[in-house]
């Protein structure tokens, strides 16, 4: 079985701080990590490999530094790593990203494609289903568990707001996987040593052979018109008021924070 896992290098958003004076994001010193849901997906692929045997390929689109997450994936047990990097890929929204990935996937070949449900920097959850559409493959999203019920069929558990659904899907297909799918294995020391003795393949737009009009900024229907932070965290306020008034203050704040 050929499994391809799409992964992304993301800033560890839990480490991002806002400058208290300007309210701008401080991105310096924020570590880059493998996106957590993608790691859950890689773990799922590696478990299928452990159980049934498979070739696990990891692919990422990003700058040269994204090599780091591919090495990490190799150290965890992936067999092959491909980095899609080209200035023409830059500025891509989810649709252009999915076009780029789909191009690479067509060349790689696959029985099963796994992506993380969503990336913690964008939180869109769109790339997986869009890849599936470009490749005309069935998809199951929010996957927590997957097992091979026969050579060509996966039985999948997908999370919902109320609980879960059990689904059966034929191969080839796309699964988007949650971080909770399983505790990701640690890299092994030997895996780390070997990860740097192996090659990470570098593919550019020519290699993928995708139409340029579908890549990068030019291939992106959406644009960021503006971005802003919610402003510096105001100094906390202390209220000495009657309980009923206190309740109104709290409710108003929760509204502001979209909690209610």
């Amino acid at each position: 079985m050929k499994i391809v896992v799409c992964i992304k290098q993301v800033p560890d958003t839990t480490e991002i701080r806002l400058d208290p004076a300007t309210g701008t994001m401080i991105r310096d010193g924020v570590p880059s990590i493998m996106n957590p849901d993608d790691k859950g997906g890689l773990e799922m692929a590696l478990r299928l490999k452990d159980e049934h045997g498979a070739e696990v390929t990891v692919v990422t689109m990003g700058p040269m530094q994204a090599d780091a997450v591919l090495r990490e994936a190799l150290a965890m047990g992936a067999d092959r790593a491909v980095l899609l990097t080209d200035r023409k890929f830059a500025g891509a929204d989810t649709l252009a990203t999915s076009n780029t990935l789909a191009g690479a996937l067509r060349l790689l070949g696959y029985d099963l494609i796994i992506t993380g449900r969503q990336a913690i920097d964008g939180d869109t959850a769109q790339v997986g289903p869009q890849v599936a559409e470009h490749l005309d493959l069935p998809q199951v999203t929010y996957v927590e568990q997957a097992r091979l019920s026969d050579d060509n069929t996966l039985t999948v558990r997908a999370s919902t707001e109320e609980g879960y659904r059990m689904l059966e899907v034929g191969l080839p297909c796309v699964l988007t996987v949650l971080v909770t799918a399983g505790k990701a294995r640690y890299m092994s020391v030997r895996g780390i040593v070997e990860a740097f003795r192996r090659e990470v393949e570098i593919w550019d737009s020519a290699r993928i052979g995708a139409e340029e009009s579908k890549l990068g900024l030019g291939g992106s229907p959406t644009r960021v018109a503006k971005s802003f932070t919610r402003g510096a965290k105001a100094a906390g306020q202390l209220y000495e008021v009657e309980p009923t008034e206190a309740v109104e203050i709290i409710v108003a704040k929760l509204r502001e924070k979209f909690i209610i």
Partner: protein, 332 residues
């Protein structure tokens, strides 16, 4: 693309087991606002098996037109049949805007539809507006980078302008049963060769496993709550807000709370969107576990309690008086 051919604000109406989901009402409310600004109509897309009875409800909540697709293949939400029908409606009627709830269903459907229609999609929006003096460009605002950044996204040159919208953010319109609307029956043209996913079972379950570090809202109690019934109210508050309860070490030591819910240096470090510190004085060991929370509400009798140094909103008062009132207020 001739954008002038595309008009009206479309809403994907999400129903589960024949029940309309609240996010759909919210979307109809928002769509009505946007449609007013554009001078266009609100069109609901209602898919399911024997769901026509919901069409009137869509109208009552703001739809001018309801496209109803009733078919056995649409009984449970499945990606491909739903995508086919939504795309069929979109290709025939050319929506200017399409809104979908950012639920597990909406976030499965939305990207699939957008890729098939080769248009843009903006995920999980928390604000939607029409740009002024423009050709009906939708301004879609959403959080990114773990909520540290807000971005306003546009999709100028492609139609429909698609957005999934976070549940609970928009306001549903008042129900008005006197409203009139047009109901249009859609006959789905399925390509069943593409139906390659089969639903085996749908399971509802109360989620019992707790991991307080994953909770968006934490209601945390300390000594000030007391060991008698106080925690029951905290539990209710957590439930109303869809959060979890947690506590300071004092309450764990007192046997009121299990250790896996302890916040602090010797418990867990948490960073929820909102942290309620109720009756917690804020010993340094507790602060170490929660001060990175995005928003902290503290209630304590002692106005000099150190918890107020990290709180965004501090209330000097008795938790056992304030929390019951808060629960009551939120339930309304």
């Amino acid at each position: 693309m001739d954008k002038s051919q595309y008009r009206d604000v479309y809403v994907f109406v999400e129903q589960r087991g024949g029940r309309m989901q609240s996010v759909s009402l919210e979307l109809l409310g928002k769509a009505a606002e946007l449609a007013r600004a554009l001078g266009e109509r609100v069109c609901a897309m209602l898919l399911g098996d024997v769901v026509e009875h919901l069409a009137a409800e869509c109208v009552a909540y703001g739809a001018d037109v309801v496209f109803v697709a009733d078919a056995p293949q649409l009984r449970d939400y499945m990606t491909e049949p739903y995508t086919q029908v939504v795309c069929q409606i979109a290709r025939e009627h050319k929506p200017g805007i399409m809104l979908i709830g950012a639920t597990t269903i909406g976030r499965d459907l939305g990207p699939r539809v957008s890729a098939r229609l080769a248009t843009g999609l903006t995920a999980d929006c928390t604000a939607l507006d029409i740009a002024e003096g423009d050709d009906g460009t939708l301004l879609m605002t959403r959080p990114a980078f773990g909520g540290n950044l807000m971005a306003t996204i546009t999709c100028r040159d492609h139609r429909p302008q698609m957005s999934t919208v976070r549940p609970g953010v928009m306001r549903a319109a008042e129900r008005d049963d006197s409203r009139k609307g047009e109901i249009v029956r859609v006959t789905p043209l399925f390509d069943e060769s593409k139906f390659r996913v089969r639903l085996l079972e749908t399971v509802s379950e109360e989620r019992e496993t707790v991991d307080i570090t994953q909770a968006g809202v934490l209601v945390s109690g300390g000594r000030g709550v007391g060991t008698s019934g106080g925690f029951e109210k905290l539990r209710e508050l957590a439930k109303v807000l869809g959060g979890e309860i947690s506590s300071s070490r004092a309450m764990v030591d007192a046997g009121v709370m299990s250790h896996d819910r302890q916040v602090g240096q010797t418990g867990k470090t948490v960073r929820p969107d909102v942290y309620f510190a109720l009756g917690i004085s804020g010993a340094i060991q507790h602060l170490a576990g929660m001060e990175e929370s995005d928003f902290i509400v503290a209630v304590n009798k002692d106005k000099f309690a150190p918890i107020f140094q990290v709180a965004d909103v501090g209330i000097v008062g008795d938790v056992n008086k304030i929390v019951p009132l808060l629960v009551e207020r939120l339930k309304k």
